[in-house]
């Protein structure tokens, strides 16, 4: 993100037909968004009872993030403000239902009906005032308050965000806390400027005893990984500091990403969906040297 798209134009203008298509046909972007979504879903820590859930994908764009939810068998409702992105989502025959909607206007769902929400690379857009009538603080408030309402008790929402600076981070976090959410920020690869990824992990309502994710308590640091999957290898371990005032602490141990096998599997999936995917070669999944 050399130049921040939010600085260029409002989202529904920035993501026009050309940009939406460009975005969705970049294999690099597809891969990044897929892995961010997988990570978000992991942090969502849904009960592993084998029953599909009803989830939201906020700022779903062309469906790259939602596809991860479908792959895990969940139903989802995606909302986005860009008609062009949604057009591509239709073209790609995503399985979620789509709504043309501005999250800054608040979400119109009945109370307590949604099992969880993810949002990948979208919420930072709310920090910008694109019209004279826009007040980021109010829009964030409308968004988080309405989200809180529609989530079922104990449900979580995970947002992968690109705040431009600490003010934006605080702005987003405060709005979430004011709406009643508890939670904090999880940082993956905190010391790599390229790979650093930030997730806001929020929980709603009274959580069951094993799942207390209360605000600013360090005892809770590990629960997100502890109480569910064993799938989390130490490799990609990240900071789990749910104290919102202190972000980074510990570093992950290795740099390796998802590995060749994961990439091959992913590429295969994309092929089956009829996407244009580069051939597999001996270079596939190799670590790149230098800049790119």
């Amino acid at each position: 993100m050399a130049s921040r798209p939010e600085r260029i134009a409002p989202p529904e203008i920035f993501y026009d037909d050309t940009e939406a298509r460009k975005y969705t046909s970049s294999s690099r972007i597809i891969e990044i968004q897929a892995s961010l979504s997988e990570r978000a879903l992991e942090l969502l820590a849904l009960p592993e009872d084998g029953v599909p859930k009803l989830l939201l994908d906020i700022g779903c764009g062309s469906g790259l993030s939602g596809e991860t939810l479908s792959e895990e068998g969940h139903h989802w409702i995606g909302l986005d403000i860009s008609p062009s992105m949604l057009d591509i989502a239709i073209e790609r025959e995503v399985e979620g239902d789509l709504l043309l909607s501005d999250m800054g206007q608040g979400l119109g769902f009945r109370p307590g009906v949604i099992d969880g929400a993810i949002s990948i690379s979208a919420v930072q857009w709310l920090c910008n005032a694109d019209r004279s009538s826009h007040n980021p603080r109010l829009r964030l408030k409308a968004f988080f308050t309405s989200l809180y309402k529609c989530l079922s008790n104990g449900a979580k929402a995970v947002f992968q965000v690109y705040p431009e600076n600490n003010d934006q981070r605080e702005l987003i976090m405060n709005a979430a806390m004011h709406a009643g959410f508890a939670g904090g920020i999880v940082v993956d690869f905190p010391h790599s400027s390229k790979k650093r990824k930030e997730f806001l992990v929020l929980a709603c309502g009274q959580l069951s005893t094993n799942a207390s994710l209360s605000q600013g308590k360090n005892e809770d640091e590990t629960r997100l990984s502890d109480d569910d999957s064993d799938s989390e290898d130490e490799e990609n371990q990240t900071v789990r500091n749910l104290d919102r005032h202190r972000h980074l602490k510990r570093q992950k141990k290795s740099k390796s990403g998802k590995g060749r096998e994961w990439i091959l599997r992913k590429k295969d999936q994309m092929r089956r969906r009829g996407n244009d995917v580069p051939q597999d070669t001996k270079y596939t999944g190799r670590k790149r040297k230098g800049r790119f």
């Binding site: 139903h75 403000i81 709504l99 119109g108």
Partner: protein
Amino acid sequence: MRLLTHNMLSSNIKGVVNGFPLRIEAEKVLEKNVEMNSDFLKKMFEKIEWKAFVEASRGMGYTELPEEADSSMLDSDEFLNRFHHALLELHLEEGALVCPETGRRFPVRKGIPNMLLHEDEV
């Protein structure tokens, strides 16, 4: 948009007290087969507003749902099949959703409801 989503949606216009259910104006409805998952249906049954669901399904031209339903019916395959079909296989492709309180129409094009509010509705 499927009725699953319709049943969760409500009108979000400023000042509206009861924005649920949005009335369906169907111009074009599509059917797409989806594999049935009875566990999901059972979970969803607890959340569905049945009356609104039945009404919506009629608006989409499907009239096989019972007026009333309780959880004991989830043991019946026939019921599950109908519930499944109405919930997940019917798609409102073209038409509109209408706010029950204000009559404001939210157009649906290519299966996507346009829920964007005008500035004076926020």
